[in-house]
Each structure stands twice: as C-alpha cells, then as structure tokens.
Subunit: 253 residues, 2 copies
Amino acid sequence: MSGWLRVVGLGPAEADWRTREVERALAEAQHVVGYHTYLARVPERSGLTRHGSDNGDELARARRGLELAQRGARVVVVSGGDAGVFGMAAAVFEALELGPPSWRNIEITVLPAVTAMLAAAARLGAPLGNDFCAINLSDNLKPWAVVEKRLALAAQADFVIALYNPASQARQEQLGQALEILRRHRTLDAVVMFARAVGRPQEQLRVTTLGTADPAWADMQTLILVGNHTTRCVAREAARPWVYTPRRLAPAP
Amino acid sequence: MSGWLRVVGLGPAEADWRTREVERALAEAQHVVGYHTYLARVPERSGLTRHGSDNGDELARARRGLELAQRGARVVVVSGGDAGVFGMAAAVFEALELGPPSWRNIEITVLPAVTAMLAAAARLGAPLGNDFCAINLSDNLKPWAVVEKRLALAAQADFVIALYNPASQARQEQLGQALEILRRHRTLDAVVMFARAVGRPQEQLRVTTLGTADPAWADMQTLILVGNHTTRCVAREAARPWVYTPRRLAPAP
C-alpha cells in the first residue's frame, strides 16, 4: 500500500476560493495535519483522523505528516492561504531534507491556492497591476535588519508591496518602523490599504495614505498593501474607492 | 434588470486549479469577454455569448465588458492566471476611470485565482518560502530601464524573484540581459527554475543555476523563478530535486 502527502492551501477563509483539486485531496485523505485554526476549516467526517497542533510547531507537524505517509497513509498537511507562501510547504521540504533518506521516496504533491494578497487585491480593485513584492514582517525567523533592508530596497524599486503578518500580540512596534522606512522613499500620498479578515463575515477594508496610515489598525488577521507611485483611486458615490495600479508606467508613445 | 461584471482569473491551464467561485461566475454569465486563447478555455453553452479579441487589446475588451454590464447583462471578463497579476483587472479599472461616470455604479467583482508563480512553485517544491517579488519582463508598457533597476534592487534585497513574460517572439534579448544583471548581485550557484506550460500536458520543469541558465530555454509560456541565497535543492533518486527556500534566514538561536 502506498501512501502520499499533499501539502494543501485552504485559501483565505472563504470556502468558495478553494480549488477543486484541494477539495478532492481533503475528500481522499485519511489524515489531516495542521495548526488548530486551519484544521477547524476542514469538515469532520468518518475515516479522517485529525492531528492539530499549535502555531510555531511547523517542523514537528511536517515530520508527523511525512511519517504517516511513509507508513502508507494518505495525508494532507494544511496551511491557510497558499502553502508555498509563508506556509507549510517550506517546512515539509526542510523536514524532508533533515529526515531519513527513505522519506525522499514519498509521493509528495503541493497544491497551489489563492494567497492572502491576491484575495485582498481582488476586493480592493487591482492594486497588484504592476510589479510587486511580498514581505513577511515577522522577525521570528529572520533578523529585523533584513526586513528593514528589504523594505528600503522594495520602496526604491517602486514595487507595490504586500506586507504579510504586519502585527501580532507580541509584535506591535514593527509595523510603525516599517511605515517610517517607506516614508523615507515614497511620497506621503502613496496609497496604503489595510485588508482585515478577507473572506470572513468580519471583513474590513480601509484605503488610506502613507502619511495617515496608523499601525494600530493592523492585527494578526490583517494584510497590508502599499501602492507604487502610480497607484490610483477611482472615487465612487457611497462606496469605497476602487484602487488600481496602471499597467503602463511610461507615457503612451 | 441589473447587470454585473465579474473579472475572473481562469488559473494556469489546469481546470482543477479553478475556484468554485470562478466556476459559478462562468455558469451564471450571459457574456464572456477575453483574449481568444483564454476564451478557448471556457466551455461553450447555450445562453453564453463569446466576445474574443486579440492580445494587447485590453482596454477595448474592458470597455466592451463594462458597456454590456451597464446595459443590464451578466458579464465575465476572463484572464489567464489571476486577473489582478498582469491580467485584465487593472485594465477594467483604467477603462472605468476613463469612461462615463455612470459606469462607476456598475456592480463589479474581481474573483481571485491561482497565479502562475504559485502553480510553478508548487510543482517545484517551495521556492517562494521566503520574501519574494514578481517582475513582468515585458517592456511593452514600461521602459526597459525600469525593469533593469527593479531587477538590480530585487537581487540586492535577496528576494526570490518570479519573472513573468520572460520572452516572446518579439522579445528575445531581454531575458539574457536580465540574467546578466542578476549575475552581478547573486552568486553563480543561485538556483534558477524554468517552469513551462505548468498544468498542461506539455509541462516542462528545469532546475539549473544562475551560471548555466540559458535564455533560449524560455518562451511565451515560461515562468522563471530565481532563488535567494538560501534556496536549496533536495536530491532524489531518479527524480527532479525538490527546491525550497527555508523559512529561517538567521542561524537558530
């Protein structure tokens, strides 16, 4: 009997944003492994054993999934959003590299999904319409100096910038520092967007500027987008403006 | 009767990568507007009128969709991948801004989807496991000097770099120039991945290094990923290596 491991992104909250491939993997699995919060989004059913663990325990979760698959089980490891973007996929391959050589024969598939910045951008209009970058603001796994350097270079490159994990209960100061760095390289009227709990009933979207953006508006469920120097708002009556970044950077020929 | 416009990403080729939300929009639409190549991926059915046009005609397509929705029709504008990433969404909001004020009352929804770099990354392992950027290498809509500047800054930031549209029949020289810029800032053993026609029968994946990457391997259907300085390969017997970028940048405490 041959097992397999599928590393699966559940997408951002809204079940209608899941791909058919992910739904099939969840239907075929015997085991599902993941952080409690994401596991709660996988419906219970007979024949499916659930292995929940705390956040921050990624390598242990990855090893658990690999061990089960190695013993012949059909295993799904779940992430929120896309598993390849600050999710479980990198942890699985790290565990694979550090683990017994026999693990390298396990049938592993990573199933792509909608990542948070794509869902947030869709709600807001088309802010990612030109070159962009994604920066994880957490310094749990990298020195803060690296984050600062990347922010400064990204601003100079005039990328639209997506900030993942801008704040948590333990990290309240960093978003303010990040915005200060961006203010050195971008004008204060640059468009800044706070997208909170996208796809959930408590979804909240806020369109503001770099000059007035307040770090207190962000929490663990927030993704922030910072426009480039051409990002624009299209005003509407009695509705939030649409935000888009034009495809064209130079004047038309 | 009130119409609507949904701007829809069909994802990268593989129908199983579509979201349920996108499938529903395609089922409910009366009109579908898009570039011929993407339109061919929408099944014919009675009650659905198809409006195909050539590539490069984005604003005209966007206006067509908005006009139909304004007259009360249910309209889907399709893109490949995610419509917000170098796709039709930005063109729709540009047309909206330039068009009659009444268009701003049209009910518009952008439906997020799996973009090419997420699908390519999933096939290769987890190369986007740390901060990354996406650069459209085409200079049809921006000066080549901007592309060069962004490449140099992205390399200095040690982003994993996704290169969209690395080559076309009309643009054969630029990928070589781009790789030269990256070689000035990255070591020659940096991992470079060519992902061609991901999700199609003719899918082709190649894992190489910055020193040996050959621009001739890329065409219009190729997406290129360039690892950061920590991106690693996990060797397997009789199989392509897995590629991943570790989540951790600093040595463990």
